[in-house]
């Protein structure tokens, strides 16, 4: 990738995150892209690589209300969304908001809880509102969920169905830090955790303005065609049982807009799409069982498709 001038505000947020996180700039960037594009992120990784730290730093930087839900098998939907409790003083039911009523939510180990609770979360993500006892409660805006799941432990988990994975804008892996980075992690661990000392860069209102600006990022017809070409290819690829839906195309476009904005550009480039496609599309594909046996991963399939679809280099003939 060509290193470009980065948006000043975004640059400050990233710098803030980097104060607590060592390395992992790409994960931070992608999380910001999802936050700006009003999407949600699924982090797939083992515990202890700093997922929580990153989300908390992000939340602090935008001065957002941070909530964390640790998903367990016995968690109930009301534990997520909130519950109405009878208040004897007022002689009425009073709504006690659950953790979903925050701005930035870390949904840890989402595949550990029952599908019922999962769907409560996912519904909230999609509709931006929850309905409890017949009353619809609007969720706060901005609303950003970063869910994690552990890909190693399958014992006693409820894997998310594909239809629900579709609701995440991006899926990514965190990965272990580099050798020298990990040494620095140890250095910092000896001192006071700096997370408490982070200052917000913008407030929620500022974030909302940024989110609105992203919608103005220009997407040319050639780029729309390129996106659709790529998504179409996922539907005809030999190893794919079920390809990405039109929601996938929309997600890719939105993510590309966010990414372009992050690099202070008001139009989308094919480079943006190529970079983002694996994160946006890989969790939306269902591979054929034969391909799975052969050890082909969805990321590889997306890479193959990117290598196959020609980049548009001239204007469409009208």
């Amino acid at each position: 990738m060509v290193k470009e001038q980065i948006n000043q505000t975004i640059d400050k947020i990233l710098a803030n995150i980097e104060k607590v996180m060592i390395g992992k700039r790409d994960v931070a960037e992608l999380s910001l892209v999802a936050l700006l594009a009003e999407g949600h992120v699924l982090l797939e990784d083992v515990p202890g690589v700093g997922k929580t730290m990153m989300v908390r730093a992000l939340a602090k930087s935008v001065n957002a209300n941070f909530r964390r839900i640790q998903f367990t098998p016995d968690l109930l939907p009301s534990d997520v969304t909130g519950v109405s409790i009878y208040n004897p003083k007022e002689m009425d039911f009073e709504f006690r908001p659950g953790p979903l009523m925050g701005n930035i939510i870390l949904a840890d180990e989402i595949n550990r809880t029952s599908p019922k609770t999962q769907s409560a979360l996912l519904e909230g993500m999609e509709e931006a509102s929850v309905t409890i006892d017949g009353v619809t409660h609007k969720l706060q805006k901005p609303f950003f969920v970063m869910a994690t799941q552990n890909p190693i432990e399958y014992e006693g988990t409820y894997p998310l169905p594909e239809a629900q994975l579709d609701r995440f804008l991006l899926k990514m892996k965190m990965g272990y830090p580099e050798h020298h980075e990990e040494i620095e992690v140890l250095d910092r661990a000896q001192r006071v955790p700096p997370i408490e000392e982070l200052n917000p860069v913008i407030d929620l209102e500022g974030l909302r303005i940024l989110q609105n600006q992203i919608k103005d990022v220009f997407v040319d017809d050639t780029m729309k065609r390129y996106i659709v070409d790529i998504v179409n290819q996922t539907r005809v690829h030999g190893s794919v049982y079920l390809g990405a839906s039109p929601r996938g195309s929309i997600a890719l476009m939105k993510a590309a807009q966010g990414y372009a904005f992050m690099y202070d550009r008001d139009y989308v480039l094919p480079d943006d799409i190529q970079y983002l496609a694996p994160f946006v599309l890989s969790h939306r594909l269902i591979l054929k069982s034969q391909a799975k046996f052969e050890g082909i991963t969805a990321e590889e399939v997306v890479d193959q498709i990117i290598a196959r679809v020609p980049v548009p280099v001239q204007r469409l003939v009208k």
Binding site: V2, D266, P270, V311, K318
Partner: protein
């Protein structure tokens, strides 16, 4: 489906032309009259479907047309009396009955016409379907070609022009349809400019291939024309014997002689002459061991009334001039028959314009005719003097060219040596060429050798044709005798050539036009071959070795006068302008006819021009192609300069659109390929790191804005042009 625009009209016309080709031979080959009614019907149905009339109207119009013309052709009275309709319907019913009874001969003519109309109706619909819905016409085009070529091969129908027409119409239709298929498949909006870009090369391609096909020399067919054979079979005359039975008659291919013959007494031409004379068609000079071929071609041309550039009788030989009139039985016969000593051809009918050129090959002495139905030949009958003939005893450079001598004494390397031994035995004691040739000619008169058309061997892979005949079979017909004599004489160094043609033919009648002339009928059975021996100062003197045949040649034995001893000079007939013969009053009446002939002549002229110049044309074409190929190969050295020049004075900012794409093309040619999935930005970095600049990235940034944001800063081309020019210059090899 498609709109009713001009291309659709063009497609309809092409479809109609293709279908028309199916109808053209019908009139000639079957006893179908009034074919134009059917053609008009086709035209009608194409017009109706072009205008996309509702099916009911189309149906009505076609039905009325069919009924109208069936009534016109087969019934009396007015169309509106309708009484005929009743009889037509009863006729239909009867015919349907006969049809199911498979009594085909009973079918009435009106029913046949009716069925033919229906067939055309269906064909019209099919063409419409193929052209405009399926957009695929190849199958039909191919079937048309097969149909025409089959008819051409097995019937009298001459499809030369039909093939050309079909190829033009078919290629055009296929080309247009593939354009529309691509447009449709790729969902591209077609602009008129785009259409032009496609159609212009298409037209060029068709013109080029047609021209090439017409002009290029074509090998003569390796099989004999089956039409006369089929006719013979039809007449119940076929008798087959042997493995390879040839049909007697005149064929162009003699590279494998041998095998039995069957007779064929179809008339080839009639000749009105003073006596029976041998008719030459062509000569061949190179013996291969299996047969004769021509060593090369030297095509030239001459006009009617000019001296024919054929070398036969030198001026030193006394001769008397005669004329003979030839009436070919089949005007398609492509060759002119002429006696030895031909001087000029005249009186060709139908009349040819003054400047018509006849192609002639001076090596084979083959003269092509233009489908003449009648022509006269002025020729000289030589009167050789035996003492002149006997003068030559060996090869002398002063009498004939070395090259010429070698050409006519050339023999295959593996010719068995016993032929030479035999010849030397036969000619022992004879001093001069003439007597040696006579001795060989006499040798075949022995009873050992017999004339036979049926039990004639075909030489095997390792046999020599002459050797087999002389020493093993000793049976054969003219080809065996004449070839043997020609080859034998060559072994002892006497230049000979092999002549093909016809013998004098059968007496038919005394001529009514001239008192002293007789009309002879020459059939395929009279096809013959003989030998000519070259004697310096005497020219090519014919000999007749074949048993039972006599060529009447006058040789003066007794006297002691000698004819002049002029040196051999190659014949260079002065091209004289023939006198204008048409008188004024006949001119008026023939004007209309001439116009038609003019067109034919134009065609003949162009054909002749190509025929005489084709080597030159092929060479220059090859040169041009080579030149273009070289230009293409070194395009890296000159093309960028043209580009620089082209874009120097452009002002608009949008120029970057084409300029950038051209730059990509040039970089690609330079060897810096952009992978299809590589983004411009990524590629630009690669280019910049290759040339160690930053120009490509800067230019690419501008182009990205143009391409992906539809936005260009005003006046940006000024700056961009500098970047672009620098980059283009880098691609110069």
């Amino acid at each position: 489906m498609r709109k009713r625009d001009f291309p659709a009209l063009l497609l309809y016309v092409l479809g109609f032309l293709l279908l028309w080709e199916w109808l053209r031979p019908i009139e000639q080959l079957t006893n179908t009259d009034n074919i134009e009614i059917f053609i008009i019907f086709l035209l009608l149905s194409f017009t109706l479907s072009y205008f996309k009339l509702k099916w009911i109207w189309q149906f009505a119009a076609k039905s009325i047309y069919i009924l109208l013309f069936i009534q016109r052709l087969y019934y009396e009275g007015s169309f509106f009396q309708f009484s005929w309709l009743k009889s037509f319907i009863t006729d239909l019913v009867h015919n349907v009955g006969w049809m199911f009874a498979r009594d085909w001969n009973a079918l009435s003519y009106e029913f046949r016409s009716f069925l033919f109309f229906i067939l055309l109706w269906i064909m019209g619909y099919l063409i419409d379907y193929w052209l405009l819905r399926q957009q695929q016409i190849f199958l039909f085009f191919f079937m048309t070609l097969v149909y025409i070529t089959v008819l051409d091969t097995f019937t009298d129908y001459d499809a030369k022009m039909a093939v050309v027409r079909t190829v033009i119409a078919g290629f055009a239709a296929i080309g247009m349809l593939s354009y529309y298929r691509i447009i449709f498949r790729e969902k591209v909006n077609s602009s008129p400019a785009f259409l032009k870009k496609w159609m212009a090369p298409l037209a060029g391609m068709i013109a080029f291939s047609v021209l090439l096909g017409v002009v290029s020399p074509k090998a003569a067919p390796v099989w004999p024309d089956p039409v006369p054979y089929l006719k013979a079979v039809k007449e119940g005359e076929s008798k087959s014997s042997g493995k390879r039975v040839s049909r007697i008659g005149f064929g162009a291919n003699d590279d494998r002689l041998g095998g039995p013959f069957i007779g064929d007494n179809n008339t080839v031409f009639k000749a009105m002459a003073t006596g029976k004379i041998y008719w030459k068609v062509e000569t061949k000079d190179l013996y291969t061991g299996k047969g004769w071929v021509s060593s090369g071609l030297t095509p030239i041309s001459f006009k009617e009334g000019d001296l024919v550039p054929v070398y036969s009788i030198p001026n030193g030989v006394e001769r008397s001039l005669e004329t003979a009139k030839i009436i070919p039985a089949d005007t398609h016969h492509p060759l002119i028959v002429y006696p030895a000593g031909i001087v000029r051809i005249q009186g060709i009918k139908p009349n040819l314009p003054e400047s018509t050129m006849f192609p002639i090959d001076t090596t084979t002495e083959k003269i092509e005719s233009f489908r003449a139905s009648e022509y006269s030949i002025e020729y000289g009958i030589p009167r050789y003097k035996v003492e002149d003939l006997r003068k030559t005893t060996g090869f002398q450079r002063s009498e004939m060219g070395q090259e010429f001598y070698q050409k006519y004494t050339k023999l295959p390397e593996n010719l068995p040596s016993r032929i030479k031994q035999l010849t030397e035995e036969i000619t022992a004691g004879e001093k001069n060429w003439f007597d040696q040739a006579k001795a060989v000619e006499r040798y075949f008169g022995q009873s050992e050798y017999s004339y036979d058309q049926k039990n004639v061997a075909l030489p095997g892979e390792n046999d020599d044709y002459v050797d087999q005949f002389l020493f093993e079979t000793k049976r054969g017909y003219c080809d065996n005798f004449s070839t043997s004599m020609a080859v034998m004489l060559r072994t002892i160094g006497i230049p000979t050539r092999w002549v093909k043609g016809f013998t004098g033919g059968d007496f038919l009648e005394y001529s009514k036009e001239a008192d002293n002339k007789t009309v002879y009928n020459i059939t395929n059975n009279h096809a013959h071959s003989w030998v000519e021996v070259f004697l310096p100062n005497q020219g090519w003197v014919p000999f007749e070795p074949t048993k039972g045949f006599v060529n009447d040649i006058r040789i003066d034995y007794g006297t002691n006068e000698s004819s002049s001893n002029r040196q051999y000079a190659p014949p260079a007939p002065a091209l004289k302008k023939p006198k204008k013969e048409t008188s004024d009053d006949t001119k008026q009446t023939k004007k209309a006819e001439e116009k038609k002939v003019d067109l034919d002549m134009l065609w003949l002229k162009t054909k002749l021009f190509f025929k005489t110049n084709w080597t030159w044309m092929v060479l220059s074409m090859a040169g041009l192609i080579a030149f273009i190929a070289i230009l293409y190969r070194i395009r890296g050295r000159w093309f960028p300069y043209i580009l620089l020049l082209r874009y120097r004075f452009k002002q608009q900012d949008e120029t970057i659109a084409t300029a950038y794409l051209i730059l990509l093309g040039q970089l690609d040619r330079y060897g810096l390929k952009r992978k299809e999935n590589q983004t411009l930005r990524n590629y630009a970095q690669y280019i910049d790191s290759f040339f160690s600049t930053k120009e490509m990235t800067r230019l690419t940034n501008q182009y990205e804005q143009y391409l992906y944001h539809q936005r260009l800063p005003k006046g940006s081309w000024q700056g961009n042009r500098k970047l672009w020019e620098n980059l283009i210059k880098k691609t110069i090899a």
